[in-house]
Protein backbone atom coordinates (compact mmCIF):
# COMPACT_ATOMS: atom_id res chain seq x y z
CA UNK A 1 0.00 0.00 0.00
CA UNK A 2 1.27 3.48 -0.77
CA UNK A 3 1.09 6.38 1.66
CA UNK A 4 -2.10 7.75 0.15
CA UNK A 5 -3.77 4.37 0.53
CA UNK A 6 -2.57 4.16 4.09
CA UNK A 7 -3.87 7.61 4.91
CA UNK A 8 -7.27 6.82 3.45
CA UNK A 9 -7.36 3.51 5.29
CA UNK A 10 -6.38 5.17 8.57
CA UNK A 11 -9.12 7.74 8.10
CA UNK A 12 -11.69 5.00 7.53
CA UNK A 13 -10.48 3.04 10.53
CA UNK A 14 -10.59 6.18 12.66
CA UNK A 15 -14.13 6.89 11.54
CA UNK A 16 -15.10 3.30 12.33
CA UNK A 17 -13.58 3.44 15.80
CA UNK A 18 -15.34 6.73 16.47
CA UNK A 19 -18.63 5.27 15.26
CA UNK A 20 -19.06 7.83 12.47
CA UNK A 21 -18.70 5.71 9.36
CA UNK A 22 -21.18 6.42 6.59
CA UNK A 23 -22.79 3.48 4.84
CA UNK A 24 -20.54 3.94 1.81
CA UNK A 25 -17.43 4.22 3.95
CA UNK A 26 -18.42 1.10 5.89
CA UNK A 27 -18.66 -0.83 2.64
CA UNK A 28 -15.31 0.50 1.45
CA UNK A 29 -13.55 -0.32 4.71
CA UNK A 30 -15.14 -3.76 4.89
CA UNK A 31 -13.97 -4.56 1.39
CA UNK A 32 -10.41 -3.51 2.12
CA UNK A 33 -10.34 -5.56 5.30
CA UNK A 34 -11.75 -8.61 3.53
CA UNK A 35 -9.21 -8.39 0.74
CA UNK A 36 -5.99 -7.27 2.33
CA UNK A 37 -4.03 -8.74 5.23
CA UNK A 38 -2.09 -5.45 5.39
CA UNK A 39 -5.35 -3.61 5.94
CA UNK A 40 -6.30 -6.04 8.68
CA UNK A 41 -2.93 -5.57 10.35
CA UNK A 42 -3.31 -1.80 10.17
CA UNK A 43 -6.85 -2.02 11.53
CA UNK A 44 -5.70 -4.06 14.52
CA UNK A 45 -2.84 -1.70 15.26
CA UNK A 46 -5.14 1.32 15.48
CA UNK A 47 -8.04 -0.53 17.05
CA UNK A 48 -5.79 -1.97 19.75
CA UNK A 49 -4.48 1.50 20.56
CA UNK A 50 -8.07 2.76 20.68
CA UNK A 51 -9.09 0.02 23.13
CA UNK A 52 -6.02 0.40 25.27
CA UNK A 53 -6.32 4.17 25.59
CA UNK A 54 -9.91 3.69 26.66
CA UNK A 55 -8.93 1.19 29.32
CA UNK A 56 -6.17 3.39 30.56
CA UNK A 57 -8.48 6.38 30.86
CA UNK A 58 -11.22 4.34 32.47
CA UNK A 59 -8.76 3.00 35.00
CA UNK A 60 -7.80 6.53 35.88
CA UNK A 61 -11.45 7.52 36.19
CA UNK A 62 -12.24 4.53 38.37
CA UNK A 63 -9.40 5.40 40.64
CA UNK A 64 -10.76 8.91 40.91
CA UNK A 65 -14.31 7.76 41.60
CA UNK A 66 -12.96 5.52 44.31
CA UNK A 67 -11.41 8.50 45.98
CA UNK A 68 -7.82 7.89 45.04
CA UNK A 69 -5.58 10.83 44.34
CA UNK A 70 -4.49 11.45 40.79
CA UNK A 71 -0.96 12.65 40.29
CA UNK A 72 -0.03 14.93 37.45
CA UNK A 73 2.31 13.39 34.93
CA UNK A 74 3.49 10.67 37.23
CA UNK A 75 3.26 6.94 37.02
CA UNK A 76 1.10 5.24 39.56
CA UNK A 77 2.11 1.73 40.56
CA UNK A 78 -0.05 -1.01 39.15
CA UNK A 79 -2.39 -2.43 41.74
CA UNK A 80 -5.77 -3.99 42.04
CA UNK A 81 -8.62 -1.95 40.74
CA UNK A 82 -12.35 -2.17 40.77
CA UNK A 83 -14.26 -2.71 37.60
CA UNK A 84 -17.27 -0.48 37.10
CA UNK A 85 -20.13 -2.34 35.57
CA UNK A 86 -21.84 -0.17 33.06
CA UNK A 87 -25.05 -2.11 32.73
CA UNK A 88 -26.89 -4.61 34.77
CA UNK A 89 -27.37 -7.80 32.81
CA UNK A 90 -27.98 -10.73 35.06
CA UNK A 91 -25.24 -12.80 36.53
CA UNK A 92 -22.34 -10.84 35.27
CA UNK A 93 -19.17 -10.96 37.23
CA UNK A 94 -16.52 -8.41 36.54
CA UNK A 95 -14.66 -8.39 39.80
CA UNK A 96 -11.28 -7.17 40.72
CA UNK A 97 -8.33 -7.73 38.50
CA UNK A 98 -4.84 -6.51 38.25
CA UNK A 99 -4.59 -3.31 36.30
CA UNK A 100 -1.94 -3.70 33.68
CA UNK A 101 -2.27 -0.06 32.83
CA UNK A 102 -2.76 2.86 35.13
CA UNK A 103 -2.18 6.34 33.87
CA UNK A 104 -2.30 9.45 35.97
CA UNK A 105 -4.13 12.36 34.43
CA UNK A 106 -3.59 16.06 34.75
CA UNK A 107 -7.18 16.89 33.94
CA UNK A 108 -9.57 17.99 36.69
CA UNK A 109 -12.17 15.38 37.49
CA UNK A 110 -15.70 16.56 38.04
CA UNK A 111 -16.75 13.50 39.96
CA UNK A 112 -13.66 12.83 41.97
CA UNK A 113 -14.99 14.29 45.19
CA UNK A 114 -18.65 13.35 44.82
CA UNK A 115 -18.50 10.15 46.77
CA UNK A 116 -20.57 9.47 49.86
CA UNK A 117 -19.71 6.40 51.86
CA UNK A 118 -21.82 5.12 54.72
CA UNK A 119 -20.85 2.24 56.98
CA UNK A 120 -23.85 -0.04 57.37
CA UNK A 121 -22.17 -2.96 59.08
CA UNK A 122 -19.18 -3.21 61.37
CA UNK A 123 -18.59 -6.56 62.95
CA UNK A 124 -15.75 -7.50 65.27
CA UNK A 125 -17.51 -10.50 66.79
CA UNK A 126 -17.51 -9.12 70.33
CA UNK A 127 -20.69 -10.92 71.39
CA UNK A 128 -19.57 -14.05 73.26
CA UNK A 129 -23.04 -15.51 72.81
CA UNK A 130 -22.70 -15.51 69.05
CA UNK A 131 -23.39 -18.98 67.78
CA UNK A 132 -23.52 -20.39 64.28
CA UNK A 133 -27.02 -20.16 62.88
CA UNK A 134 -28.20 -21.84 59.69
CA UNK A 135 -25.93 -21.83 56.68
CA UNK A 136 -27.83 -19.23 54.76
CA UNK A 137 -29.51 -16.09 56.09
CA UNK A 138 -33.25 -16.26 56.45
CA UNK A 139 -33.44 -12.72 57.71
CA UNK A 140 -31.48 -9.50 57.28
CA UNK A 141 -28.91 -7.95 59.59
CA UNK A 142 -27.67 -11.13 61.31
CA UNK A 143 -24.68 -13.32 60.71
CA UNK A 144 -25.38 -16.84 59.56
CA UNK A 145 -23.09 -19.71 58.65
CA UNK A 146 -20.27 -21.40 60.46
CA UNK A 147 -18.93 -18.64 62.65
CA UNK A 148 -18.58 -18.15 66.40
CA UNK A 149 -17.05 -15.54 68.67
CA UNK A 150 -13.78 -16.40 70.46
CA UNK A 151 -11.41 -14.25 72.53
CA UNK A 152 -8.30 -12.90 70.85
CA UNK A 153 -5.09 -14.36 72.23
CA UNK A 154 -1.35 -14.13 71.80
CA UNK A 155 -1.01 -16.15 68.61
CA UNK A 156 -4.18 -14.76 67.13
CA UNK A 157 -4.75 -11.20 68.36
CA UNK A 158 -7.98 -9.45 67.46
CA UNK A 159 -7.78 -6.78 64.78
CA UNK A 160 -10.54 -4.76 66.46
CA UNK A 161 -11.84 -5.14 70.01
CA UNK A 162 -11.02 -8.11 72.21
CA UNK A 163 -12.68 -10.95 70.36
CA UNK A 164 -12.76 -12.29 66.82
CA UNK A 165 -14.76 -14.66 64.70
CA UNK A 166 -13.69 -18.27 64.27
CA UNK A 167 -14.83 -20.30 61.33
CA UNK A 168 -16.32 -23.62 62.28
CA UNK A 169 -14.08 -26.59 61.58
CA UNK A 170 -15.91 -28.83 59.17
CA UNK A 171 -13.40 -31.37 57.84
CA UNK A 172 -15.77 -32.70 55.21
CA UNK A 173 -15.95 -29.28 53.56
CA UNK A 174 -13.26 -27.33 51.78
CA UNK A 175 -14.62 -23.96 52.83
CA UNK A 176 -16.86 -22.56 55.53
CA UNK A 177 -18.70 -19.30 55.22
CA UNK A 178 -20.15 -16.46 57.26
CA UNK A 179 -23.06 -14.78 55.51
CA UNK A 180 -25.08 -11.65 55.97
CA UNK A 181 -27.93 -10.03 54.07
CA UNK A 182 -28.14 -6.27 53.77
CA UNK A 183 -31.74 -5.08 53.46
CA UNK A 184 -31.62 -2.11 51.10
CA UNK A 185 -35.11 -1.04 52.13
CA UNK A 186 -33.45 0.17 55.32
CA UNK A 187 -31.69 2.89 53.37
CA UNK A 188 -32.93 5.72 51.19
CA UNK A 189 -32.42 5.12 47.50
CA UNK A 190 -29.67 7.01 45.71
CA UNK A 191 -30.68 9.89 43.47
CA UNK A 192 -30.84 9.45 39.69
CA UNK A 193 -27.46 11.15 39.43
CA UNK A 194 -25.74 8.58 41.62
CA UNK A 195 -24.57 5.02 41.35
CA UNK A 196 -24.71 2.94 44.51
CA UNK A 197 -22.08 0.35 45.23
CA UNK A 198 -21.35 -1.93 48.12
CA UNK A 199 -17.86 -2.20 49.53
CA UNK A 200 -16.89 -5.08 51.76
CA UNK A 201 -13.64 -5.45 53.64
CA UNK A 202 -12.66 -8.19 56.02
CA UNK A 203 -9.54 -9.45 57.75
CA UNK A 204 -8.75 -13.16 57.65
CA UNK A 205 -6.21 -15.21 59.56
CA UNK A 206 -5.04 -18.79 59.49
CA UNK A 207 -2.04 -20.16 61.39
CA UNK A 208 -1.47 -23.01 58.97
CA UNK A 209 -1.51 -21.54 55.50
CA UNK A 210 -0.39 -23.59 52.55
CA UNK A 211 -0.46 -22.98 48.79
CA UNK A 212 -4.07 -24.16 48.59
CA UNK A 213 -5.33 -21.71 51.25
CA UNK A 214 -7.94 -19.25 50.08
CA UNK A 215 -9.90 -16.44 51.68
CA UNK A 216 -12.83 -15.23 49.70
CA UNK A 217 -15.53 -12.59 49.55
CA UNK A 218 -18.65 -12.89 47.43
CA UNK A 219 -21.40 -10.36 47.01
CA UNK A 220 -24.68 -10.90 45.17
CA UNK A 221 -27.65 -8.64 44.52
CA UNK A 222 -31.24 -9.87 44.38
CA UNK A 223 -34.56 -8.24 43.72
CA UNK A 224 -36.10 -10.47 46.40
CA UNK A 225 -36.62 -9.31 49.99
CA UNK A 226 -34.11 -10.75 52.48
CA UNK A 227 -36.55 -13.37 53.75
CA UNK A 228 -37.08 -14.65 50.22
CA UNK A 229 -33.47 -14.93 49.11
CA UNK A 230 -32.72 -18.34 50.60
CA UNK A 231 -34.91 -20.36 48.21
CA UNK A 232 -33.44 -18.45 45.30
CA UNK A 233 -29.94 -19.11 46.57
CA UNK A 234 -30.36 -22.87 46.86
CA UNK A 235 -32.09 -23.23 43.50
CA UNK A 236 -28.85 -23.69 41.66
CA UNK A 237 -30.44 -24.43 38.32
CA UNK A 238 -32.05 -21.01 38.14
CA UNK A 239 -29.60 -19.07 40.27
CA UNK A 240 -27.86 -17.38 37.36
CA UNK A 241 -31.18 -16.32 35.88
CA UNK A 242 -32.33 -14.70 39.09
CA UNK A 243 -29.28 -13.02 40.57
CA UNK A 244 -29.05 -9.41 39.41
CA UNK A 245 -25.33 -9.09 39.87
CA UNK A 246 -22.56 -10.88 41.66
CA UNK A 247 -18.90 -10.49 42.21
CA UNK A 248 -16.49 -12.83 43.90
CA UNK A 249 -12.88 -12.64 44.82
CA UNK A 250 -10.47 -15.34 45.92
CA UNK A 251 -7.45 -14.20 47.85
CA UNK A 252 -4.48 -16.54 48.08
CA UNK A 253 -2.33 -15.34 50.96
CA UNK A 254 1.43 -15.23 50.63
CA UNK A 255 3.20 -17.87 52.67
CA UNK A 256 6.32 -15.98 53.61
CA UNK A 257 6.99 -14.87 57.17
CA UNK A 258 4.92 -15.26 60.31
CA UNK A 259 1.17 -15.87 60.13
CA UNK A 260 -0.59 -12.54 59.81
CA UNK A 261 -3.97 -11.00 59.22
CA UNK A 262 -4.86 -10.51 55.57
CA UNK A 263 -7.31 -7.79 54.62
CA UNK A 264 -9.46 -8.57 51.58
CA UNK A 265 -11.72 -6.03 49.90
CA UNK A 266 -14.37 -6.19 47.27
CA UNK A 267 -16.70 -3.72 45.65
CA UNK A 268 -19.76 -4.23 43.48
CA UNK A 269 -22.14 -1.83 41.80
CA UNK A 270 -25.69 -2.43 42.98
CA UNK A 271 -28.15 -2.63 40.09
CA UNK A 272 -31.40 -0.68 40.26
CA UNK A 273 -34.23 -2.79 41.65
CA UNK A 274 -32.05 -4.57 44.18
CA UNK A 275 -33.76 -5.30 47.50
CA UNK A 276 -31.18 -7.54 49.13
CA UNK A 277 -27.45 -7.89 48.93
CA UNK A 278 -25.87 -11.09 50.21
CA UNK A 279 -22.35 -10.84 51.58
CA UNK A 280 -20.52 -14.13 51.92
CA UNK A 281 -17.12 -14.43 53.59
CA UNK A 282 -15.35 -17.73 53.20
CA UNK A 283 -12.15 -19.39 54.25
CA UNK A 284 -10.67 -22.77 53.47
CA UNK A 285 -8.43 -24.59 51.06
CA UNK A 286 -8.67 -25.83 47.54
CA UNK A 287 -8.10 -29.30 48.89
CA UNK A 288 -10.18 -31.91 50.68
CA UNK A 289 -10.57 -31.13 54.34
CA UNK A 290 -9.76 -27.47 53.79
CA UNK A 291 -12.36 -26.40 56.32
CA UNK A 292 -10.89 -28.67 58.96
CA UNK A 293 -8.24 -26.20 60.08
CA UNK A 294 -8.35 -23.12 62.34
CA UNK A 295 -9.36 -19.99 60.47
CA UNK A 296 -10.37 -16.62 61.85
CA UNK A 297 -12.10 -13.46 60.72
CA UNK A 298 -12.34 -9.97 62.19
CA UNK A 299 -13.07 -6.32 61.40
CA UNK A 300 -15.74 -6.85 58.77
CA UNK A 301 -16.95 -3.60 57.30
CA UNK A 302 -19.73 -3.09 54.81
CA UNK A 303 -20.24 0.31 53.22
CA UNK A 304 -22.84 1.64 50.84
CA UNK A 305 -21.12 4.10 48.55
CA UNK A 306 -22.92 6.58 46.33
CA UNK A 307 -20.86 8.12 43.54
CA UNK A 308 -21.84 10.61 40.90
CA UNK A 309 -22.44 9.05 37.52
CA UNK A 310 -19.59 9.80 35.13
CA UNK A 311 -20.28 12.70 32.81
CA UNK A 312 -21.50 11.34 29.47
Amino acid sequence: MNEKDNNELDALIDASLDGRLSEVEAERLSLRIEESSDARKRYWELASVHGMIEQSMQNALLRAVNGEVLVTNAKVPSRFRWSRITSVAAAVLFGIFTASLVWACAVPLVSSTQRVSREVVFESFEDPEMKPLGRFPTTANKWFGGILSVPGKGGVPAVEGARLGKFENVPKHRFTYARYVVDLDDYAEPSDEHIRSIEVSSSFFSPDLDPTSVFRIDVAAFRELPEAVQPVWIDREHFDDVVLQRVGRNYSPELSGQPAWHEVKLMMEIPPGTKSVVVSLGSGKRAPGGAGSDRYIDAVRIHLVDTSKPVE
Partner: protein, 178 residues
Protein backbone atom coordinates in the same frame (compact mmCIF):
# COMPACT_ATOMS: atom_id res chain seq x y z
CA UNK B 1 -21.18 -18.26 45.94
CA UNK B 2 -21.32 -20.24 42.80
CA UNK B 3 -22.25 -23.16 44.93
CA UNK B 4 -25.44 -22.10 46.57
CA UNK B 5 -26.27 -25.51 47.93
CA UNK B 6 -23.04 -25.79 49.87
CA UNK B 7 -22.74 -29.44 49.02
CA UNK B 8 -19.12 -28.95 48.17
CA UNK B 9 -17.49 -25.61 48.82
CA UNK B 10 -14.67 -25.84 46.28
CA UNK B 11 -14.55 -23.59 43.23
CA UNK B 12 -16.15 -25.45 40.36
CA UNK B 13 -15.45 -25.31 36.63
CA UNK B 14 -17.82 -22.38 36.16
CA UNK B 15 -16.16 -20.39 38.88
CA UNK B 16 -12.73 -21.17 37.54
CA UNK B 17 -13.53 -19.86 34.06
CA UNK B 18 -15.20 -16.83 35.59
CA UNK B 19 -12.02 -16.05 37.46
CA UNK B 20 -10.01 -16.58 34.29
CA UNK B 21 -12.37 -14.23 32.52
CA UNK B 22 -11.85 -11.56 35.15
CA UNK B 23 -8.08 -12.05 34.97
CA UNK B 24 -8.02 -11.72 31.19
CA UNK B 25 -10.85 -9.25 30.79
CA UNK B 26 -8.50 -6.56 29.45
CA UNK B 27 -7.48 -8.74 26.52
CA UNK B 28 -11.02 -9.93 25.81
CA UNK B 29 -12.34 -6.39 26.01
CA UNK B 30 -9.64 -5.10 23.69
CA UNK B 31 -10.64 -7.76 21.16
CA UNK B 32 -14.33 -6.90 21.42
CA UNK B 33 -13.78 -3.15 21.32
CA UNK B 34 -11.79 -3.47 18.13
CA UNK B 35 -14.64 -5.28 16.42
CA UNK B 36 -17.43 -3.37 18.10
CA UNK B 37 -16.66 0.35 18.29
CA UNK B 38 -19.98 1.22 19.92
CA UNK B 39 -19.35 1.19 23.64
CA UNK B 40 -22.83 0.10 24.67
CA UNK B 41 -22.82 -2.69 22.08
CA UNK B 42 -19.37 -3.75 23.26
CA UNK B 43 -20.58 -3.89 26.87
CA UNK B 44 -23.53 -6.03 25.79
CA UNK B 45 -21.22 -8.33 23.86
CA UNK B 46 -18.79 -8.67 26.76
CA UNK B 47 -21.57 -9.48 29.17
CA UNK B 48 -23.11 -11.99 26.76
CA UNK B 49 -19.67 -13.49 26.29
CA UNK B 50 -19.24 -13.80 30.03
CA UNK B 51 -22.57 -15.58 30.36
CA UNK B 52 -21.76 -17.98 27.54
CA UNK B 53 -18.26 -18.64 28.82
CA UNK B 54 -19.83 -19.46 32.21
CA UNK B 55 -22.40 -21.76 30.64
CA UNK B 56 -19.79 -23.55 28.56
CA UNK B 57 -17.24 -23.76 31.37
CA UNK B 58 -17.19 -27.54 31.26
CA UNK B 59 -16.06 -27.51 27.62
CA UNK B 60 -12.97 -25.43 28.31
CA UNK B 61 -9.88 -27.60 28.38
CA UNK B 62 -7.49 -26.61 31.13
CA UNK B 63 -4.05 -25.77 29.87
CA UNK B 64 -5.31 -24.43 26.55
CA UNK B 65 -5.43 -20.75 25.68
CA UNK B 66 -8.33 -19.25 27.63
CA UNK B 67 -8.20 -15.88 25.89
CA UNK B 68 -8.33 -17.49 22.46
CA UNK B 69 -11.27 -19.64 23.56
CA UNK B 70 -13.14 -16.67 25.00
CA UNK B 71 -12.42 -14.49 21.99
CA UNK B 72 -13.84 -17.24 19.76
CA UNK B 73 -17.07 -16.96 21.73
CA UNK B 74 -16.87 -13.16 21.73
CA UNK B 75 -16.55 -13.13 17.95
CA UNK B 76 -19.83 -15.03 17.63
CA UNK B 77 -21.45 -12.60 20.03
CA UNK B 78 -20.22 -9.65 17.98
CA UNK B 79 -21.74 -11.21 14.88
CA UNK B 80 -25.00 -11.92 16.71
CA UNK B 81 -25.13 -8.32 17.87
CA UNK B 82 -24.46 -7.12 14.36
CA UNK B 83 -27.32 -9.17 12.96
CA UNK B 84 -29.71 -8.01 15.67
CA UNK B 85 -28.93 -4.33 15.25
CA UNK B 86 -28.94 -4.49 11.44
CA UNK B 87 -26.93 -1.32 11.09
CA UNK B 88 -25.67 -0.41 7.66
CA UNK B 89 -22.78 1.80 8.71
CA UNK B 90 -20.70 -0.87 10.40
CA UNK B 91 -18.22 -3.46 9.20
CA UNK B 92 -19.58 -6.39 7.24
CA UNK B 93 -19.75 -9.87 8.75
CA UNK B 94 -17.08 -11.04 6.34
CA UNK B 95 -14.79 -8.24 7.48
CA UNK B 96 -15.34 -9.06 11.13
CA UNK B 97 -14.64 -12.74 10.52
CA UNK B 98 -11.48 -11.87 8.58
CA UNK B 99 -10.35 -9.51 11.32
CA UNK B 100 -10.99 -11.98 14.10
CA UNK B 101 -8.94 -14.59 12.26
CA UNK B 102 -6.03 -12.16 12.09
CA UNK B 103 -6.37 -10.90 15.65
CA UNK B 104 -3.06 -10.29 17.38
CA UNK B 105 -2.15 -12.84 20.05
CA UNK B 106 -2.84 -11.81 23.66
CA UNK B 107 0.90 -11.65 24.38
CA UNK B 108 1.33 -8.90 21.81
CA UNK B 109 -1.53 -6.90 23.32
CA UNK B 110 0.14 -7.14 26.67
CA UNK B 111 3.38 -5.94 25.14
CA UNK B 112 1.55 -3.03 23.54
CA UNK B 113 -0.10 -2.11 26.82
CA UNK B 114 3.26 -1.89 28.52
CA UNK B 115 4.55 0.36 25.76
CA UNK B 116 1.44 2.52 25.75
CA UNK B 117 2.02 3.68 29.31
CA UNK B 118 5.25 5.46 28.49
CA UNK B 119 3.97 6.63 25.10
CA UNK B 120 1.04 8.39 26.74
CA UNK B 121 3.42 10.32 28.91
CA UNK B 122 5.16 11.70 25.84
CA UNK B 123 2.02 13.41 24.56
CA UNK B 124 1.43 17.07 25.23
CA UNK B 125 -0.95 18.04 28.01
CA UNK B 126 -3.44 19.34 25.44
CA UNK B 127 -3.56 16.05 23.58
CA UNK B 128 -3.86 14.07 26.79
CA UNK B 129 -6.73 16.34 27.75
CA UNK B 130 -8.49 15.51 24.48
CA UNK B 131 -7.93 11.80 25.00
CA UNK B 132 -9.29 12.08 28.52
CA UNK B 133 -12.41 13.83 27.34
CA UNK B 134 -12.96 11.36 24.54
CA UNK B 135 -12.23 8.09 26.30
CA UNK B 136 -13.01 8.76 29.92
CA UNK B 137 -15.73 11.37 29.87
CA UNK B 138 -17.01 9.98 26.57
CA UNK B 139 -17.57 13.43 25.14
CA UNK B 140 -18.55 13.85 21.52
CA UNK B 141 -16.33 15.82 19.14
CA UNK B 142 -18.78 18.71 19.37
CA UNK B 143 -18.71 18.79 23.16
CA UNK B 144 -14.96 18.53 23.19
CA UNK B 145 -14.69 21.29 20.63
CA UNK B 146 -16.87 23.62 22.69
CA UNK B 147 -14.91 23.07 25.88
CA UNK B 148 -11.49 23.04 24.29
CA UNK B 149 -12.12 26.04 22.05
CA UNK B 150 -11.55 24.12 18.84
CA UNK B 151 -13.65 23.14 15.87
CA UNK B 152 -15.05 19.61 15.89
CA UNK B 153 -13.04 18.81 12.78
CA UNK B 154 -9.88 19.95 14.51
CA UNK B 155 -10.77 17.71 17.44
CA UNK B 156 -11.20 14.70 15.15
CA UNK B 157 -7.94 15.41 13.41
CA UNK B 158 -6.13 15.81 16.72
CA UNK B 159 -7.54 12.55 18.04
CA UNK B 160 -6.64 10.75 14.85
CA UNK B 161 -3.10 12.11 15.00
CA UNK B 162 -2.80 11.16 18.65
CA UNK B 163 -3.82 7.58 17.95
CA UNK B 164 -1.47 7.41 15.01
CA UNK B 165 1.37 8.83 17.10
CA UNK B 166 0.69 6.34 19.86
CA UNK B 167 0.62 3.48 17.37
CA UNK B 168 3.98 4.55 15.95
CA UNK B 169 5.45 5.08 19.40
CA UNK B 170 4.26 1.65 20.56
CA UNK B 171 5.63 -0.05 17.45
CA UNK B 172 8.93 1.74 17.89
CA UNK B 173 9.20 0.75 21.55
CA UNK B 174 8.38 -2.85 20.82
CA UNK B 175 10.94 -2.96 18.01
CA UNK B 176 13.62 -1.49 20.24
CA UNK B 177 13.10 -4.13 22.91
CA UNK B 178 13.49 -7.00 20.45
Amino acid sequence: MTNPQDRTEAPNATEEVQLLFVRHENSIRAFVRALQPSLSDADDVIQETFLTVSRKASTFERGTNFVAWSCGIARLKVLENLRQKKRANVLSEAAIIALSEDAPPPESLSEMQDALESCLERLTAKVRDLLWRRYSRRQSSTEMAEEAGMTSIAVRVALSKARGALRDCINSQIQSTR
